[in-house]
Amino acid sequence: MKQLDIKENRGLAAWVRRRPGVQAAGLLLPGLIAFGLFFVIPLLIVVGVSFTAKKAGTVDWTHWTLNNYVSLVTNFAGDFDPLYLNIFLRSLWFALLTTVICLLVGYPLAYFIARRGEKWRAALILLIMIPFWTNFLVRTYALQLIFRKEGLLNSLLLDGHIIKQPLDMMFTPGLVLFGLVYGYLPFMVLPLYASIEKFDFSLLEAAQDLGAGTFRTLRKVLLPLTMPGVVAGSILVFIPVVGSYVTSDLLGAQSSGTLMVGNTIENQFLKSQNWPLGSAMSLVLMAVVLLAIIIYFRVARGDKKGAAL
């Protein structure tokens, strides 16, 4: 009896083995359903909604319009109004600055860690991983404790008689930018480290033996060979930052100088209930991000080619 069972099993296994198509389909099906149903169709709905007329808190599928896209650059009277355009540009600018600062700080740090001895390396990379895994909200909230008006920094400066009036650091673009760098730096350092750690450091000596200066060695040898880490880190920082709204909300409180496109979209959905406008904004945001990534890949690959020649 038992043997029969096993034979049956083997039969089924053999049947599946002869049909790689069946295996592939079986493995693929759950992912296909999950993504088709809960990712592709929802995105198509967003596209649809972005062309409907505003109706608070619901979707009016009977009235189609291009107004949502038009109103991204005009005001009620139909004149050019850069309000949303400025918010978009600010988000891109913040994301770009955050990425560049994270790269400038993170690259030397990753290099420093990669050149330590094995024990130090493990300890330091753990110190980078802990904030990476720690709740982003908690970390941003910790900054609030320090930088708000009644916060630690102000009270220390006041006690030390360095300032007479508490500084207004909250709600400034500078603090939001600092919060973004603080929040996303680990996302930059980890891929950079993974890339630099694989690098053969004797190449640096080879380059210098051949007469290259420090900076030329870094630019012509180290940087091109660790480019995958630079690309991965930049994308891991840029994308979440450009669509982020938690940092600018907690540290900027949506003041006019810190409002990002994420805040605006969130407001359309969760406050003013203008879903069509929010949908149009989010599609433009998605398009901008994809475009930025394509351009970035082109440039990064171009750099690599240029260096290899």
Binding site: P30, N135, A206, L210
Partner: protein, 308 residues
């Protein structure tokens, strides 16, 4: 500094040659025909200065990363109700935390969501990785592109698209919709991690098992799965962390009664600062440190232990 040993590293030697050519080529291109007789101009940073810069950069970064967190932890033990003056050690906030029903239920909901989301996305992600790495099928490139899209597009777009979807099909927002959303955004991360491991998987091990009489199922269970385990666990830990930390997608897909811990914290810190949140944050910090250490421990390569 250290002696360069090229003898046992032919690959590195080739790379070194390429590097030499790059540098030499550049020097020649820069200074024309005379370059052969003239040493190229070099700008060398003294080693001690370079080291000093690297060290101070690292020191500042680690200070900036950890100082706020340390301050948060210290103030969670502060007796003062508000402000930053130290008025004495106290466990009051932790006590309040334990007796706060809202936080307790939010924590339980967070764990329910994370548990389901991790289990489902790890299974689907692993299956998808196997399909992508080991099979050819029509539309593979398109499927890959779509599947990695959740990593690339801003989270907020995913959140609102699911909100509109659930409204369109008339599904009420609840913990289930949150779980569905988390599963979808976790799958790509699991798939990427498992696929990376599959890419350098030695398939001869599977062939050997089959030659020795194991069928597909036994081979998968006894050979493939154990070898993939570190990556699967890594993916699961990633999914778990993404899920318990998520604010953005959850905010769009959570119904009235489905406030998770991050949503609760977000609603609280938006209004102002309460020491209870300090205590809660401290506990979450300790939990994440524990999670990192556990995942590192679990992800150690089992290959060394398995061979008897």
């Amino acid at each position: 500094m250290s002696a360069i040993n090229y003898n046992d590293k032919p690959g590195q030697m080739n790379a070194a040659i390429v590097a030499k050519e790059q540098v030499a080529g550049h020097a020649q291109a820069g200074s024309g025909a005379q370059a052969i007789s003239r040493p190229p101009a070099r700008l060398a940073l003294p080693a001690w200065l370079g080291n000093l810069l690297l060290k101070s950069n690292a020191l500042v970064v680690f200070l900036v990363l950890y100082l706020p967190v340390v301050i948060l932890i210290v103030f969670s033990f502060n007796a003062a109700r508000s402000g930053v003056n130290w008025t004495g050690f106290s466990l009051d906030w932790y006590n309040k935390l334990l007796h706060d029903g809202n936080i307790g239920s939010a924590a339980i909901k967070t764990l329910i969501v994370a548990g389901f989301a991790t289990a489902i996305s790890t299974i689907i992600g692993t299956m998808t990785a196997l399909a992508l790495e080991r099979h050819k099928f029509v539309g593979k490139v398109v499927f890959e592109g779509v599947m990695y899209l959740p990593i690339i597009i801003p989270e907020i777009v995913m959140g609102l698209s699911l909100l509109l979807f659930f409204r369109a099909v008339g599904v009420d927002l609840s913990l289930v919709t949150v779980i569905i959303a988390h599963v979808v955004f976790c799958i790509p991360f699991v798939a990427v991690i498992v696929r990376a491991r599959l890419a350098d998987f030695d398939r001869r091990l599977e062939e050997a098992a089959m030659d020795l009489g194991a069928d597909e199922l036994a081979t998968f269970r006894k050979v493939t799965l154990p070898l993939l385990m570190p990556a699967i666990i890594g993916g699961a830990v990633m999914a778990f962390t993404l899920s318990i930390d998520d604010v953005i997608v959850t905010q769009f897909t959570a119904g009235v009664g489905s406030t998770t811990l991050p949503l609760y914290i977000y609603s609280q810190v938006r209004v102002g600062i309460t020491p209870v949140i300090n205590a809660l944050s401290t506990i979450m910090l300790v939990a994440s440190i524990g999670l990192v250490l556990t995942s590192l421990f679990l992800q150690r390569d089992p290959a060394g232990k398995k061979v008897k």
